[in-house]
Amino acid sequence: MLTNEKLLGIGGLQRKALLAGLIGCVVALLGGLLLGERGDKIFESFLIAFLLCFGLGAGSMACMVLHHLCGGGWSFLIQRICEAGSRTLWFFFVLGILILLGGLYSGSLYEWSDLAFRQAHHIVENKERFLNPSTFTVCFLVYFAIWFAIATLYNRWSKQLDATGNHSYLAAMKVCAGPCLILYVLSMTFAATHWAMSLEPEWFSTIYGAWMIAGYNLTVIAFAILMLTYLKDEPGIKERIQTKHYHHLGNFLLGFTIFWTYISFSQFLIIWNGNLPEEIGFYIHRTDGGLTTILLILMIFNWFVPMMVLLMRRQKTDLRKLRRIAIYTLVMRFFDMYWNIAPSFPDHHGKIVPSTLILSAAATIGIGGLWFYIYLNELKKRPLTPQQDPRGELMFYEEEHSHA
């Protein structure tokens, strides 16, 4: 459990998060109403924020399951950090209804939601069985049903393991981890196709799902590093944490940074080289006008700089530096999501629309702030490390022997 001192600190942090969240949401809503027509601006900016912050919930769940699949020592200390994140999926469900379904049925987000549009475009008409409002809604419910089931099962088992010390719960988590991750990857691929790729309904890319998943992994590892450095002096973590754990997490951040770049570059190179009319529009929309600047920012600051910094061991073992890189990664994630999503909107092709950029930043602060408030509430509910998980004890054993 958290110490009293930390609880007080968290209380303050929660108030700030709530305040930032409310201000961000109000600014984004009012700005959207003033600047946009029929609320389009609101849906657009909130969609970018939703797709970015959703990575914290879904990514946490994936990281939690991955921990049980691999059983590595590196992830024991962030287990409860991820579990708490997975318990916030309901927040994204509510937001999804408001933003995704709201944007769909109001005709503000997805061009294909209009029957006349589908009939006028042969390629879109060809995929009408997937891109229509009913399928979108049913799939939305199915995706969340899968994620709720996984998050609920794992959180329940983890709680029961704490209470009883019965290792059969651990075995169950281990056995189910593989199938759960498969379900996660498949559902996330389809969700990414529905929610983001279909914003440009004639475009397609087979790697898109993996691209979103890679970005979410990056988000959650950066967030976990921030939380771990914040909670490092708390009972349960304090006795176990060593420099090597920061080093491992820094390595994972490096790994996912490279993986994200690898996926992004592969997609770019193949589409650019193919130069097919039905595909190349995606990159023309994102490289014309000022958007090249964002692309350059991403290339330099979301790949080259963090990669070079994280290659150095001392950057990963120095807490302050590692924390700084994690914050920096999260900021870059915003630019990545803006670059990925915003140019898909019809009046945003090939240009930066400053109002959307600012409003989506406000909406990100809004959704992120509210989410963080809920997240901290969830985090406080359980001890910061699993209580009867033998891996926690084995960390002491390994520690003793590595100094023997």
Binding site: I123, E125, N126, K127, T206, I270, P390, H401
Partner: protein, 462 residues
Amino acid sequence: MEARIKTVPPVLKAVAPLMEDGHSHESISRAVSDVVLEMPMPRPWYATISVGLILLSILGISTAILFWEGLGLWGINNPVGWGFAIVNLVWWIGIGHAGTLISAILLLFNQDWRTAINRFAEAMTLFAVMCAGIFPLLHVGRPWAIFFILPYPNTMALWPQFRSPLLWDVFAISTYFTVSLLFWYTGLIPDLATLRDRMPKGIARSIYGFFALGWRGSARHWFRYEMAYILLGGMSAPLVVSVHTIVSFDFAVSVIPGWHTTIFPPYFVAGAIYSGFAMVLTIMIPAREWFGMKDFITLRHLDNMAKVMLATGLVVCYGYGCELFFAWYSGSDYERTMMWYRGFESPFAWVYLCLLLCNLVTPQFLWIKWMRITPIPLFIISIIVNIGMWLERFVIVVTSLRRDYLPSSWGTYTPTIFDWAAYIGSIGLFLTMMCLFVKFLPMISIFELRLQHHLMKRGEIR
């Protein structure tokens, strides 16, 4: 601290230790180096090298005839200009991935179980890349002019096409081979010194001594060795990914339906690791039996390799799924027609179904622990995966090329006896090289096993 847990609870326990009990540093050195120095080769070794040499002769004869008659002996023609040659190239390069992955990436991930299998897998990598290299060499038609692919100033004003991934292949594969060779050789130096020291005076001892580079095991030697090894590991890790990524670009940067798909790079890399691990298992399962290495290559190693194979197999299946779904989702008539043709209408539709059976269905058996730790079923699965991965490349290459955008240029492909001869001949080269490797070099890293034994005794690893 005394009250704390000292033994691993059953739920977290591995299937077997990294090394069986009852060994000392001396017994480890003897067990591995005796295969080279003392032990007569077992009968299956003679049988394998005989088969290898016969197949190698087939390669030699068929290549000589091919040089004399020309590439018309192969089944390639318009529109399928890339037949068995590219299928075999991709297959062998894929197999060559496991070695450096085990050596470099598992080294960077601190995976202790790599120790007993890295040497073997690295050797396999080198031989697989050599086998792969045969095919582009033959496929260019005039192998004596192969140096034209290199960018050098010449009076004919020839300059390679740098925008072609085929040229990137040349650099990627040659770099990969060079670094893998260096990595393998660096790791061998301390063991070559062990062989030198255990060997009676003679030419063989001089040869081992020459290659041991005067290794004496001093602290300075070990310091430099460790530094070189980790640096080479760091250099090799991106190469593992880059090579098959570039091989996937050979197809993906074109505009042929079925080739031009963005999932290819990670899907090819996963497929390469999948087939590489399958080949390591295919070779290692009998080898540990024939050469008495079961104490060092335990069921834990088989279990872990099977898990890696399952994980990468699932990524490959994800790639198949994405190809299928997005061919439909694209709404493009060309993509949809190609996928329908591939699965149902093509004369090679049965090949596609077989590959799904091999690569999609078969690895699912690896969810069962018993299958992962029982050598014979695992061996059978590894063979099936090897076949499946070859079929995958065949389907990608042939079905997409047989029918492109222009119906008037549609055609067919039938491999000839010379195609088959080159393929099975390359397997002969691989088998021969593996047999020679086992005969003349320690198949497991002796000094790393000794270190592992030391750490196990101290309780640092289990």
